[in-house]
Amino acid sequence: MGIGKPLEGTYGIMAEFNDPQSLLDAANAAREAGYKELDAYSPFPIHGLSDAIGFGHTKLSGIILAMGLLGGFSGYFMCWYANVITYPLNIGGKPFSPWPAWVPITFECTILFAAFGAVLGMLALNGLPMPYHPVFNVKRFENASRDRFFLVIQSRDPKFDVDSVYKFMDTLKPREVVDVPW
């Protein structure tokens, strides 16, 4: 809105439901009807909903593992580099390179990096922060964070056609079906 050139048409068509079961059934029906560019919105996580809209896998675990390993290696490297290579300290004749003494810091760095991987990875994959999104243009969408459940078929779906989507949405017995303007 207002920035750049206005986009053609709508973002998609949104149906509103009263309860999680209706949304889950609707999402399954939409996928089975051949729609691919779907999204569902709910005030809490619903088990099986991401499968229903055809989204089953996330790369998050890999990111967290990689970050954790990186953290562990950096933590150990830091101790070793500082206390063996660049600034060796003789503490009561103890060895310069005692690996057990570095376990706590290695462990803490592993957790720290992995936690950042989990949070920043989740946000990045989700494309957040994103303060503006077309779905917010629908007034009733403010209830998506309260007690309503929404299904959106996006206009970029190859099967998208306003009339047929409206007709299909009506078969799902929603509370309301509306256009989502850009």
Binding site: P45, I53, N126, P131, D147
Partner: protein, 474 residues
């Protein structure tokens, strides 16, 4: 009945079948019946958005503000004069600073335990109290962090604690437990903050959508990062949240373990003990649950949250308090046992001095607080009475402070050489800073209650019966 007639060989005795389950075996609900998605959302968000704060909140806020003033005063004096204003001297060089640090850090542990470990154990009752307990963790860690930062004497050089390439060419000594502590506590504070914030994001979106003021919509909108509850987002969100819980669980155990290494790695009788890590972790959980009870009981009353924080929650917390209290007491017994079993004169003297020496009153009170008081929780009448729970929690708050006092000054004050024996007392500045740190804690807590939802709204929604949805077989 019909089934029984068909299968006479599996006869069930009529007495067991007919007798109803006695009421005392039916757990009280985790959420009072009669709520729906809208009522849960509106009730919790209205505390932040609509309702005027009750008088009790005002008291907390202004008491906290006063405490922050005292803290400012003591810290200013400390920075200008130095740690000489404290009671520490030869032979007791570690006093209230480490004592209060350990006390606060321990309190913080219950928050992570409730939010992470109970999540992994699928203890659904944690849902109503986890946000509150996590906030408590953060503020307790903030209060704890003051002490190591200020006890250095020259806090403007505190960045020397962290490894960074500098023109002096020096690096920290990573073999030292004090360096481990720097990493453990800073990691703990960071990860707790991340965990808490991630949990808040969907609720901040609720506040954004429910707020009537422009400022509220803008601020909550920015803080919620544009959360819109997409199923794809929830999928990754739950994944991240679960893994964060999995990461926080060993973290919380490691933090108090490393805090205990500050003592256990030394050679001092009374500190040099292998059972310190589990002893400290159990004590931390005990102290933390006591503090959650201390805060949750008045809060549920003030903000009328009895529907969400039910007797079931309070009773469970009482049980955890009792179990961990007895672990702590077991450690006291083991401490006594090992001091004699070691055959070491100094170990034996240290324990005898702890119990019968000049600080014997502290030890006796410690046994009352952490040995006897938790036994109250054996009785269901005590576990289900807010008054008795509050009394029990107060005993353990005091008891855990005394425990650290007993560990720290009494191990130090009678050195190996009788000529260097001495006594330790906190000065007015020690007490001022302790009261000040409590003020900071209350002040931050009051701000949290005012501006953020104290119960995780989206997680409470998932506990409602109508939240259950099942995909059809296809």
């Amino acid at each position: 009945m019909a089934e029984k007639d068909q299968h006479p060989q599996h006869e069930i005795r009529p007495t067991t079948q007919a007798a109803p389950i006695p009421a005392r075996f039916i757990p009280s609900p985790m959420l009072e019946p009669g709520h729906n998605f809208a009522s849960v959302t509106d009730h919790i968000s209205s505390i932040v958005l609509r309702r005027k704060m009750p008088l009790g909140w005002m008291v907390l806020f202004f008491a906290g503000l006063m405490g922050v003033g005292i803290l400012g005063l003591t810290v200013t004096k400390l920075v200008f004069v130095g740690v000489g204003i404290w009671g520490i001297n030869h032979p007791v060089g570690w006093g209230f600073d480490i004592l209060n640090f350990v006390w606060w850090i321990g309190i913080g542990h219950a928050g992570t335990l409730i939010s992470a470990i109970l999540l992994l154990l699928r203890q659904e009752w944690r849902t109503s109290i986890n946000r509150f307990a996590e906030a408590m963790t953060l503020f307790a860690v903030a209060a704890a962090g003051l002490y190591p930062a200020l006890h250095t004497g020259r806090p403007w050089y505190d960045f020397w604690l962290f490894p960074y390439p500098n023109t002096m060419g020096i690096w920290p000594q990573f073999k030292s437990p004090l360096m481990w502590d720097v990493f453990a506590v800073s990691t703990y504070a960071t990860v707790s903050l991340l965990f808490w914030y991630v949990g808040l994001v969907p609720d901040l979106a609720t506040l954004r959508d429910r707020s009537r003021s422009k400022v509220g919509r803008f601020v909550y909108g920015m803080m919620s990062l544009g959360w819109r509850g997409s199923a794809k987002h929830w999928h990754r969100y739950e994944h991240a949240y679960l893994l964060l819980a999995g990461l926080s669980t060993p973290l919380v155990l490691s933090v108090h373990t490393i805090v205990s290494f500050d003592f256990a790695v030394s050679q001092l009788p009374g500190w040099h003990a292998t059972f310190f890590p589990p002893y400290f972790v159990a004590g931390a959980v005990y102290a933390g649950f006591a503090m959650v009870l201390t805060l949750a009981i008045p809060a549920r009353k003030l903000f009328k949250l009895e529907d969400f924080i039910t007797m079931r929650h309070l009773e469970n917390m009482g049980k955890v308090m009792m179990a961990t209290g007895m672990m702590v007491f077991y450690s006291y017994i083991m401490e006594a046992f090992f001091s004699f079993y070691s055959g070491n004169t100094f170990e034996r003297f240290m324990w005898t001095n702890r119990v019968t020496g000049p600080y014997w009153k502290m030890y006796a009170l410690l046994i009352v607080c952490n040995g006897l008081a938790p036994q109250l929780m054996w009785f269901k009448r005590c576990r289900t009475s807010t008054t008795w729970l509050m009394i029990g929690a107060m005993f353990s708050n005091l008891g855990m402070w005394l425990e650290r006092f007993v560990i720290i000054p009494t191990s130090l004050h009678r050195d190996f050489l009788p000529s260097s024996w001495g006594m330790y007392h906190g000065t007015i500045w020690d007490w001022g800073m302790y009261i000040g740190s409590m003020g900071l804690f209350c002040f931050l807590l009051a701000l949290f209650l005012k501006f953020l939802p104290m119960i995780s709204i989206f997680e409470v929604r998932t506990m409602l019966p109508e939240a259950q949805a099942h995909a059809e077989e296809h």
